[in-house]
């Protein structure tokens, strides 16, 4: 059994996973030692979750392990019979899920589900309750005895994740696989959860496989890091080494395209295009990163480069400039603050409230109402980028919907170009929609799947009389060029586009009426960092070329800092702090803003993170 120090708990030897014969994960080798944390880092679709799925034997249809082995305590999990594997799962190997709320059964109480797990671990019935209570206390859940009677939907995401963590550690497993365990949570909850996982992992000397898209987070949580691109390991090594001295152009790009929370604001360097989907990995010749690589040469596409040692335990799959420090993507020019002209604001929101009356449920019981927005006042000048930050439920999205007239304000005034448009009808409505356009969070569901791109981007022209087909096509082409989309995508349908392309189409569509202000609600949160950087830069370019303003709603402080000169911090429907972005984020005054800033892992690895007070009880 694993535990004898030195021999790895989990070891992959040339592990290869294929999709209908085409290699997806290629020749993966790594080892996780007892008590060690290995980070698997990559963008969505890079294959990082595949390893957890090989262990749990939950590979999607069509995928199969076609080579190599995955040893757990000396036994090959790949060839193991179903029954001995089941005996390992939940006992010696445990999992922490990405979506804690859906990972628990909605019709069973927390006590029933935890009890079932202990039953599976053969804990005698009489001891189970005490075990559960002490396990829930360990993950710093307050009043654990009361939690036993509750159903998962009565708990917050962070509380559910604590329950999942407590269950994972209940059997003192040798290995825990945590797949994006904090991605679905708010930033401050993320810090708490990281703190708890890390603390328990240290106390129990559990090995941890930490799967994430976030290189910065991984460098804080992990001992070693392994960067995956299109199913290949491109770089692996000690976490600090990889994050402070990344050698592979892809790792460097990941870092360069992730805006920092401190230092000079520089234009983000971006990679072209996007990683192909999993089915396309096998058709990438040679180095799979070559087609997007800024330093490729002719040889890159002809042979797969080997992993080369570039430092102690630090290996890189690149034949090129990985050996020197200054090649690859470097951050661009410093951004200069755009002076605002002194004209009147495009948008002025004055003391706006939104009250939702409690609904009567099917039994006729009236639930108490909620004030989603409590007296918000915002104004945006022409060409100004204003950010609104806050956690889920802070009212920031409601405010965006009020601005757009998708909801009616309970009280207060909304002015566009000095005209009161609060009454959302007739002329006021026309003025509002002529000046303001919205881009939505989910690029997929915002696009009608049965319309080609050309009809999507020029959709508003259907309402205007007399716009002929030729005029529409010309406008569509111009919008495509402006948003960096190839014109030959015009006759494609949304399902044929990548996530980044879809969000560009959404932006192009919003630009069609030449609005003066874009309202953008979490428009990059579903995108990978390299694509996110492209979209952020596009927005900056649009300010230059069109002088357009932006009301940017986001939970990501670093992104807001990169784009916006002014920021509002919202909590429970209230604006708790506002001001120039650098001032608010650099020297936050309100305790809530301070906790938000503290929850972001700092660039400087010498600054400890997560903050010690992070894992308080909930």
């Amino acid at each position: 059994m694993p535990g004898s120090s030195g021999s790895p708990v989990l070891e992959a030897r040339g592990l290869t996973v294929s999709l209908r014969g085409a290699q997806v994960l290629r020749d993966l080798s790594f080892a996780v030692k007892p008590g060690e944390v290995l980070g698997l880092v990559g963008e969505s679709g890079a294959g990082k979750s595949m390893i957890g799925r090989v262990i749990g034997r939950t590979l999607p249809q069509g995928f199969a392990v076609t080579g190599g082995s995955l040893l757990f305590g000396g036994r090959d999990l790949v060839g193991l019979e179903a029954e001995p594997l089941r005996a390992l799962l939940g006992d010696r190997i445990a999992f922490i899920p990405q979506e804690p709320l859906t990972a628990l059964n909605p019709v069973l109480t927390i006590g029933q589900q935890f009890g079932e797990h202990l039953e599976r671990l053969r804990v005698p019935r009489g001891l189970r309750r005490d075990r559960i209570v002490s396990a829930l206390t360990d993950v710093r859940l307050r009043d654990p005895a009361a939690l036993l009677e509750l159903y998962p939907f009565q708990l917050s995401g962070g509380m559910c994740q604590r329950v999942m963590i407590a269950m994972a550690f209940a059997s003192e497993p040798a290995l825990i696989v945590a797949d994006e365990p904090t991605t679905a949570l708010d930033v401050s909850t993320q810090a708490h959860i990281v703190q708890i996982i890390r603390g328990m992992q240290r106390d129990h000397r559990t090995s941890l496989l930490f799967i994430t898209h976030d290189l910065r987070l991984a460098s804080r949580v992990c001992d070693d890091i392994l960067v995956l691109y299109a199913g290949d390991i491109v770089e692996q090594g000690p976490a600090r080494e990889v994050s402070e001295r990344p050698r592979h152009p892809y790792t460097r790009a990941l870092q360069a395209s992730n805006p920092p929370l401190g230092g000079t604001r520089r234009r983000l360097a971006t990679l072209p295009d996007q990683m192909p989907g999993i089915a396309g990995f096998a058709s990438l010749p040679g180095c799979r990163f070559a087609s997007r690589c800024p330093i490729r040469d002719g040889a890159c596409a002809s042979a797969v480069p080997p992993l080369m040692e570039v430092g102690p335990r630090h290996r890189v799959r690149c034949t090129q400039g990985c050996l020197s420090d200054d090649r690859g993507l470097v951050p661009g020019e410093p951004l200069v603050a755009v002076p605002l002209d002194g004209r009147d604001p495009v948008l002025r929101v004055e003391d706006v409230w939104k009250h939702y009356a409690g609904k009567r449920d099917w039994l006729g019981r009236r639930h108490p109402g909620v004030d989603a927005v409590k007296g918000a006042t915002v104004s945006v000048a022409p060409g100004e980028f204003v950010g609104i930050v806050g956690e889920s439920g802070s009212g920031k999205s409601t405010l965006a919907r009020l601005v757009m007239g998708l909801e009616d304000a309970t009280s207060g005034r909304i002015m566009v170009d000095g005209v009161d448009v609060t009454a959302n009808a007739g002329e006021a409505r026309r003025i509002r929609l002529g000046a303001l356009q919205m881009v939505f969070q989910d690029p997929q569901s915002a696009l009608n799947p049965r319309r080609p791109v050309e009809r999507l981007v020029t959709q508003v022209m259907e309402a205007a009389d007399g716009a002929g087909d030729a005029e529409r096509l010309a406008r569509a082409k111009a919008l495509m060029r402006e948003t960096g989309l190839p014109v030959d995508l015009l006759d494609r349908y949304p399902s044929q586009l990548s996530g980044g392309q879809k969000q560009r189409v959404n932006i192009a569509r919003a630009l069609c009426v030449t609005p003066r202000l874009l309202v953008a609600d979490e428009i990059v949160s579903g995108l990978d960092v390299s694509v996110q950087a492209q979209i952020l830069n596009l927005l900056l370019d649009l300010r230059q070329t069109r002088g357009i303003g932006l009301l940017f709603i986001s939970h990501d402080l670093a992104v807001v800092r990169y784009l916006c000169s002014r920021v509002l911090v919202m909590r429970n429907g209230e604006v708790v702090e506002e001001g120039a972005t650098e001032a608010v984020l650099g020297d936050p005054r309100h305790p809530y803003t301070r906790s938000l800033v503290a929850a972001v892992p700092p660039e400087d690895m010498d600054v400890p993170w997560p903050p010690l007070a992070a894992a308080e009880s909930v």
Partner: protein, 339 residues
């Protein structure tokens, strides 16, 4: 029963009042507007116009329709359902005799149908992607394509005529006498009074009609349960249970079935309502002395008071079964109880 369940039942009862008023007015109005003449049907051929008028007056049929409705409604509230024009008996008595028979039949049909449906749904689910699923799939399609009454006839031909093993007429073998009524429910009464031969015979007589009714429910329950199970098995919590090493059969029973039951329960509510409609023809075909047969006789004889009353009883039964299903649904879905 929990407070919420009682609240729900109370609300349902309140809601039932306007529904029943509307239904009764509708049935009453339509029956009066139709060219149906109950008096002519019940008089001997030699009757004079004076006889005719006298009888009309005795049944109150000479008054205006709204007046008749108000009188009928007023008596209804006191529990007086009127007198059958054809049978010349109290309508309440007629229904009291027929209703238990129908309830027993529907209950047996529903239990049979749901049981077959659940077993079949589980079988279809566990044989997914295999030959067995396709056979059941094809089978349920066939079952659903044929209506209950045709099944009744086919079952009689198969198990009553070609292979004479099951009775298909009436409720009891002719040589048996009814046990003294306790509740009016034959199965219950014969059991508590110790008439086990009567009980056996009654059950034996119910096999074919109950099965004909069950066939209307079983395939739908099967399909809905199968597809809900297929949905639920994709859920995150099922994957997580597997990753905790919970055995597959425990996952099916404890995690999947509990969630998949919810849409199935709703469906059973709807189907239970339909089943009362199915009894009308099925009872007639099997000469089963229930509400359906009473209704058919009443319609045949333009017996307005009986048609009205039986119509209303059907309405109450459907509302009742829906309320029961809602309570079951409430018990099965904690989100409705606590959210």
């Amino acid at each position: 029963m929990s407070r919420i369940a009682l609240q729900l039942l109370f609300r349902r009862t309140l809601l039932a009042i306007p529904i029943l008023l509307c239904v009764s007015a509708l049935v009453f109005g339509i029956l009066r507007l139709l060219p149906a003449d109950p008096i002519a049907m019940s008089l001997p051929p030699g009757a004079t116009a004076a006889d005719f008028e006298k009888l009309r007056q005795s049944f109150g049929l000479d008054r205006s329709i709204p007046e008749q409705y108000v009188i009928w409604l007023g008596r209804l509230v006191t529990g007086d359902l009127g007198t059958s024009i054809y049978f010349r008996r109290d309508v309440g008595d007629l229904i009291a005799k027929a209703l238990p028979a129908t309830l027993e039949l529907v209950l047996l049909g529903l239990v049979l149908g749901v049981a077959i449906g659940i077993v079949g749904g589980l079988a279809m689910f566990s044989w997914r992607g295999r030959m067995g699923e396709q056979v059941l799939d094809l089978g349920t399609t066939g079952l659903m394509a044929i209506p209950e009454f045709l099944w009744a006839i086919l079952l009689i031909l198969a198990f009553g005529v070609a292979l004479p093993i099951l009775p298909f007429i009436g409720r009891l073998s002719p040589e048996l006498v009814l046990p003294p009524p306790v509740t009016g429910f034959l199965l219950f009464d014969s059991l508590v009074t110790g008439h086990l031969r009567v009980l056996g015979s009654a059950l034996w007589h119910m096999v074919l009609p109950a099965f004909a009714l069950a066939i209307g429910v079983a395939p739908l329950v099967m399909r809905v349960l199968r597809s809900s199970l297929l949905d639920v098995i994709q859920e995150d919590y099922v994957t997580q249970a597997r990753l905790r090493g919970i055995p597959e059969h425990t996952i099916l029973v404890r995690h999947a079935l509990k969630n998949a039951a919810l849409p199935t329960i709703s469906l059973i509510g709807v189907q239970g309502g339909f089943m009362f409609g199915g009894t009308v023809l099925v009872e007639m075909i099997f000469a089963y002395p229930g509400l359906g047969n009473l209704m058919v006789d009443a319609v045949r004889n333009h017996d307005l008071p009986v048609i009205q009353a039986v119509g209303l009883v059907y309405c109450v039964l459907v509302l009742g079964i829906n309320a029961i299903v809602d309570v079951v649904y409430l018990a099965a879905n904690p989100k409705l109880r606590v959210a």
